[in-house]
Amino acid sequence: MLRIFITLILFVTVTIQGQNNTIVAGEKLTFTASYNMSGLLTDLAQVNMETSTVKTSKNILLRLKCKAKTFTKWDNFFKINDLYESYVSPNSLKPYLYKREINEGNYYKFMKYTYNHKSQTVKSLKRKRRKDGTFWEENKTLNIGSKTLDLVTTLYHIRNLDIAKATIGSSDVFPVLLDNEEHLIRITLLGKETINTKIGKKECYKLAISMNADNILKGNNSNLLWLTADANKIPVYAKFKIAVGSGELRIQSATGLK
């Protein structure tokens, strides 16, 4: 009887944790990405994160769209126009389709993941542009774990975590599919901090993000994320250290929140 009771409690807890209580359709967050050049931060690009409802004949899904574009003053030197999008269940934030289109100078890459949660596989399509302008494609079927997510969905899953109940120093691990390889992203709660942002003074959860792949995110506690300590858990500020340098992401506006 006790065993059944404990199993039931665990099941309810897991079900509640898996429910989306944070992300709603119609949310629009705008950020400015700055890059550290010789110790001085230079505004480089605008990053938009939007959510919207997508209807199919049988289902309603949530579209999580992230767009990064360089400011026009940079376009003659190095133009970036990247799009990341994920179609997820609005209730569980489970991903079903993921698309990533990278347009950086002459470099072009397109990735598409089609999830099959029953068989725990992902159909992956990679399309790249050759130097002569022609394209080549690679199709693969990848085995994934039951909790494996893509990059966009991971960010929204982090926002959906019940951080208020977490203790300082506690961490959570997310398996993330990146370039057809599964990586582990560890999120550690460092504490609470009140910071000034463009959308006002906000009390935030300070999180450290680390990855098992050393070539992507560098350093220990060098990649930090501040999420507002409210129901929306908006990412208002982020510091990152990558292979080619370091930078920041600062929020400019937030609309359509619940």
Partner: protein, 110 residues
């Protein structure tokens, strides 16, 4: 020694001017400051040895121009992104439709 500081101030002044014209933000301040310091040292040495300071004055002029350009750009230039053109909007709409078509064929648990 004087010549070395003149050359250094000239190099940094030129670099400062180029960076202030390019969209590197306040990064131009580093070579501008260096050019000013080297120029000042060269100026003092020139004054002590009673030598011409024409080139150094020219360096100071370039430093002032670069500084003005940098400050003007950082104060008045706003960060704007390019609007999506018709072709991009069309491409995005097509991609959206393809996504919906793909989602139709998937088994989704809501």
């Amino acid at each position: 020694m004087r010549q070395l500081f003149i050359i250094l101030s000239l190099i940094f002044a030129a670099l400062g001017l180029v960076l202030s014209i390019l969209p590197f933000g306040m990064i131009a301040l580093t070579p501008i400051t260096a050019a000013f310091i080297f120029g000042l040292i060269a100026f003092k040495i020139s004054k002590k040895s009673n030598k011409s300071s024409k080139i150094i004055r020219g360096v100071f002029l370039v430093v002032i121009i670069s500084l003005c350009i940098s400050i003007y750009r950082s104060v008045f230039e706003t960060n704007v992104i390019e609007e999506d053109n018709i072709e991009t909007i069309k491409k995005e709409k097509q991609s959206d439709q393809e996504s919906i078509d793909e989602l139709e064929s998937l088994e989704i648990e809501n």
